[in-house]
Amino acid sequence: MATKKKKNIPKAKAVKKTSRRSKLILDSKIPDGPIAEKWDKHRFNLKLVNPANKRKYEVIVVGSGLAGASAAASLGELGYNVKCFCYQDSPRRAHSIAAQGGINAAKNYQNDGDSAYRLFYDTVKGGDYRSREANVYRLAQVSVDIIDQCAAQGVPFAREYGGLLANRSFGGAQVSRTFYARGQTGQQLLLGAYSSLNRQISLGKVEMHTRSEMLDVVIVDGHAKGIVVRNMITGEISRHSAHAVVLATGGYGNVFFLSTNAMGCNVTAAYRAYKRGACFANPCFTQIHPTCIPVSGDHQSKLTLMSESLRNDGRVWVPKDKKIAEKIRKGEVKPNDIADKDRDYFLERKYPSFGNLVPRDVASRNAKEVCDEGRSVVSSGLGVYLDFADAIKRMGENTVRERYGNLFDMYEKITGSNAYQNPMTIYPAVHYTMGGLWVDYNLMSNLPGLFAIGEANFSDHGANRLGASALMQGLADGYFVLPYTIGQYLAENGIDNRPSIDDTAFSNVQEQVESRIDTLLTINGERTPTSFHRELGKVMWDKCGMARNKKGLEEALRKIPKLRKEFWQNLSVPGENAALNQSLEHAGRVADFLEFGELMCRDALQREESCGGHFREEHQTPEGEAKRNDDNFSYVSAWEHKGEKKIPQLHKESLVYDEVKMTQRSYK
């Protein structure tokens, strides 16, 4: 239905809408009943859309990674008309493709005692008790269907000689439940979802828009009813209306400039939704991966992750003496010449029972600590050794090659160094973001009609994600959760509830998008988008990275607005809008990162505890471990935008744990 009140003052309208919602109550809509029955009961209670009516509904899906592609394909199969958008030249290139390790599922094919309950338990514990129990339980329940679905699509999972599926173990679990396809599980699962998507495209149920970037969401009468998109080849700005909008736009790791994300990954879609009234949850929960290849210089454009399986056999060390470390950094001494007594295998020393296999956050923080002490072994000052000499001595070079050959090759390609002869150098890097748009049990944000799935939402991983769980969540949301839950919203709101793109709400948003592009192109300053991005990334990494403290975060909150101000005064973007213009694309994304970074720091500052990937230096045990504060902080922080230059409002959704007992993690 068309809007009733149409005003030609777009900004005022947006502000008015948000301020009206200031008493917003976040209802997670978690169904009643025992945890194992919630999803079945809920599915039964969800309203259905009559099959004959499904073709009268339009759904927009933004993003074509595991979550987006699986959702678009599944919605198309159900009969909805889907429009899917991605910035890449093919949906198959979304960054899900880069996941190496595997996908978890509670199949219990190994007969080792796995169950949906155990996967649920491990995930809640691994998330350091900051995720929602009901969502995680559902994730564990549907995990088994994902493997069936992918196998039926022809995903060439690793198999045993008997022809059945193989499994491997992964961090944070004592059962073997990870399915994999060589070192490229992400690519194979994405190709599976992409093939289903292609089928729907060929059937005319999904209209695919590649090289198309969503620049804003359109809200009509408080409901998300469309998006405004820039064609990245021609610069054309177009409006698209729908009955519902699904954001499957991934994470925001690139706010740090350097991360393991792809170059194009950005926060724009989620952040624009936030500015239109959707709450952003737990933005400060970011995951740092300990085994990445260190930065080699200022030219660095991204970081490369190596599977953490390397820590099964590699030993992490730095010299005990920082004078020796300095000599290594200057190239005066070689690592192999340093006697064992002069080496500090710091993880083995501090965590005798877990050793090099402590969780990601612990391994990362300790690497930072020894580097901060001046004991780094690479010239940038940011790197420690991961040494396979003992493993080679113990089991021979061939066995090491069989296990890790592809990783050693990749390492050599990038660094030029042979890790069979010299220890690898590694350093932690930003890898995944647990925070995201706030969603209820139906994966709908507080803005009716706006859904967020995959890494773009916040709900399943708490403050820390376990390995091989990102692929699981993306596909769970896209194949098995959203296709049901979106039906409820559509059925409730009816077929007529789709405005025309001629509605003033659409033209207003388009005007704003165009005026912003014009501004970016006409500042005519001195600095490139990359230079601003790099500077922001450094502030974020130093002050809101692996370890955070009040002073640093407050400093970042002073620095970021200054940098943002300079951006809008001194940016240089050559070229025009009406053509392929990569500087312009980047400038728009950096502009949003410059606002979003501030929100992250604000969130990190208010969370006066350490949990999962969020380590506040003021809150640690005497042994230097993360110290949670369950009494005061077992909540989801959900931020509501209150208008330009206004401080966003913090809403708290309390987390209640009926099933899992909260304990302090210990890996000593």
Binding site: S70, S74, E77, Q88, D89, S90, R93, H95, I97, A98, Y109, D148, Q149, C150, A151, A152, G154, P156, F157, R159, G163, L164, L165, A181, R182, Q184, Q187, L191, S195, N198, R199, I201, S202, T210, I233, T260, A262, M263, G264, S296, G297, H299, Q300, S301, L305, K413, I414, G416, Y479, P483, E526, T530, S531, S572, P574, G575, A579, L580, Q582, S583
Partner: protein
């Protein structure tokens, strides 16, 4: 090190393009090839000019976005390596490097080094899938797959769809790409019901897109960053022949 670049610049598919020369100064051997281009682009922007447009995304050799011919060889000629994983230590001070887009009728240039590969999309939409609806599938272990078949399917499935095979081929043939896709699914038991239809539709679509024919020179295999074997082309030809016979009989 200091290098000279000769880079193909072209505003769009309609305009004629040409080579422009750039200096790449103070290049560190630790840079990746694309980071070297980033550095050059920063200087170009500082001069108020438009930077060299090129595609890249994951920069770890798996998304298949990056696509450029370096000194006459797609991805630069380091075996099993995409342009984004090629590093400057393989070049020497004073080198002149020639950089061009993929060249093929079926890959029109969007701008500079960026080409339109939607022809690959249409080939896959024509039949590169197994028709299963979400949820309507048997238990994953209900269909055992011999490990050898699954491993071979995986060899084919590694294709990242970058298009280097087309760029290297004197006929601009897409046979290695299509062969990898057809072989992957036809090797799996799940892919059998649509085996005939798939081979037929995908090969026909490939021909319609204007890709050339295969004369088995093997340049595609030589430049493939995932080292997809030429054997798969033989397999696809067999699949297509089989499909033709089946069609003829029905």
């Amino acid at each position: 090190m200091n290098l000279k670049l000769r880079v193909w610049r072209q505003d769009n598919a309609e305009e004629a393009g040409g080579f422009e020369e750039y200096e790449a100064l103070d290049i560190s051997p630790d840079m990746s090839f694309l980071e070297m281009l980033d550095v050059v682009n920063e200087d170009i922007i500082a001069d108020g000019e438009e930077p060299i447009a090129f595609d890249s995304d994951c920069r770890e050799g798996i998304c298949g976005t990056c696509s450029m011919v370096i000194n006459g060889v797609p991805h630069g000629g380091q075996q099993g390596t995409t342009a984004c994983q090629l590093h400057m230590r393989h070049f020497s001070d004073g080198d002149t490097i020639v950089i061009e887009p993929w060249r093929a009728t079926a890959f029109p240039v969007h701008r500079d080094l960026i080409v339109d590969r939607t022809s690959f999309e249409r080939i896959q939409q024509a039949g590169g899938f197994i028709s299963v609806r979400t949820g309507s599938v048997p238990d994953a272990n209900a269909t055992p797959v011999p490990k050898e078949d699954s491993d071979l399917a995986m060899d084919a499935a590694q294709c990242i769809g970058c298009g280097a095979c087309v760029a290297a081929c004197k006929n601009a043939s897409a046979m290695l790409f299509v062969a990898a896709k057809v072989s992957h699914l036809s090797l799996m038991p799940q892919g059998q019901p649509e085996r005939t239809r798939r081979a037929f539709s995908m090969v026909n679509q490939m021909d319609e897109e204007g890709f050339g024919n295969c004369t088995v020179t093997g340049s595609c295999e030589a430049v493939c960053p995932k080292e997809i074997s030429l054997d798969f082309i033989a397999r696809m030809n067999r699949e297509y022949g089989r499909a033709l016979l089946k069609k003829g009989c029905s």
